[in-house]
């Protein structure tokens, strides 16, 4: 398990499991913290990770800059057969995905177990 705690109010914990990487995002993903998050995600993709399970249970806020990180990195993952799976998003955060019609772009499930089942 690896923890990255930046002064931007965003905390990332990455936990590799068989066939995927669980990335727990805690805090607020806005135009400030998304810069660090984008760098970290790009680094993980460069390291060869392709299947990402995002734990959103402690993600309190997301702005368009945060959405932009997922959108701009999507092809680099999906082109290699990978995917972005989200679970545990709070209503306010899920609503931001809904407002832009992004619900069909990624996979959303309610629990980590469901996410792992999709990869089994």
């Amino acid at each position: 398990m690896n923890t990255t705690n930046k002064p931007t109010g965003l905390n990332l914990i990455s936990e590799p499991i068989v066939g995927a990487l669980i990335l727990k995002i805690s805090g607020e993903l806005d135009a400030s913290s998304s810069l660090d998050f984008d760098s970290r995600l790009k680094q993980l993709i460069a390291e060869g990770h392709t299947h990402f399970i995002f734990d959103g249970t402690e993600l309190a806020y997301i702005a368009s800059a945060g959405l932009g990180v997922f959108i701009s990195n999507k092809d680099d993952v999906y082109d290699k057969g990978g995917q972005f799976i989200f679970f545990g998003l709070r209503e306010g955060v899920q609503n931001v995905f809904n407002l832009l019609g992004l619900t069909d772009l990624f996979t959303f499930v309610s629990s980590q177990e469901e996410a792992m089942d999709l990869l089994a």
Binding site: D30, A31, G68, K74, L99, L100
Partner: protein, 138 residues
């Protein structure tokens, strides 16, 4: 007037803008998902002004004003930057942003999805972003 304050043009101020506005809206009966959406729209507009309009120049400030009258919430953001955007971006569907891996422009789409009316005016060299929304105050 339920809010009026100025902040320095740096990204790190966005959280304090959200926290402060969210608390003020709550005080005036705008709560839950509606409060969250209004805060998101204002956050996006402020991010545009700070980052794109003023290039995060910490010698500059933006001013935020919010007023609530007879169920109509009006938020204005004043800045002296050079914020320009292509209005055609608003007509693009989300697939356009995905195909082009675009990070920018999504904020404006969110603002328009949330607020009833959005205007950008240039008044005496000051860019004024006006966002209006009818709110059922509880």
């Amino acid at each position: 007037m339920i809010a009026h304050y100025s902040v320095i043009c740096r990204r790190e101020e966005l959280k304090s803008i959200r926290d402060r506005l969210g608390a003020e809206l709550e005080t005036h009966g705008i709560t839950g998902l509606l409060r969250d959406q209004v805060v998101l729209a204002v956050d996006e507009a402020c991010a545009n002004a700070i980052i794109h309009g003023n290039d995060c120049d910490e010698n500059r400030t933006i001013r935020i004003e919010a007023e609530l009258r007879e169920g109509i919430l009006t938020v204005r953001i004043y800045d002296v930057g050079q914020f320009e955007f292509d209005p055609k971006l608003l007509e693009r569907d989300i697939d356009y942003f995905i195909r082009n891996k675009m990070k920018g422009g999504l904020g404006l789409k969110l603002i328009h999805a949330i607020m009833d009316e959005v205007r950008f005016d240039l008044v005496d060299g000051v860019c004024v972003c006006t966002m209006i929304k009818a709110v059922p105050v509880s």
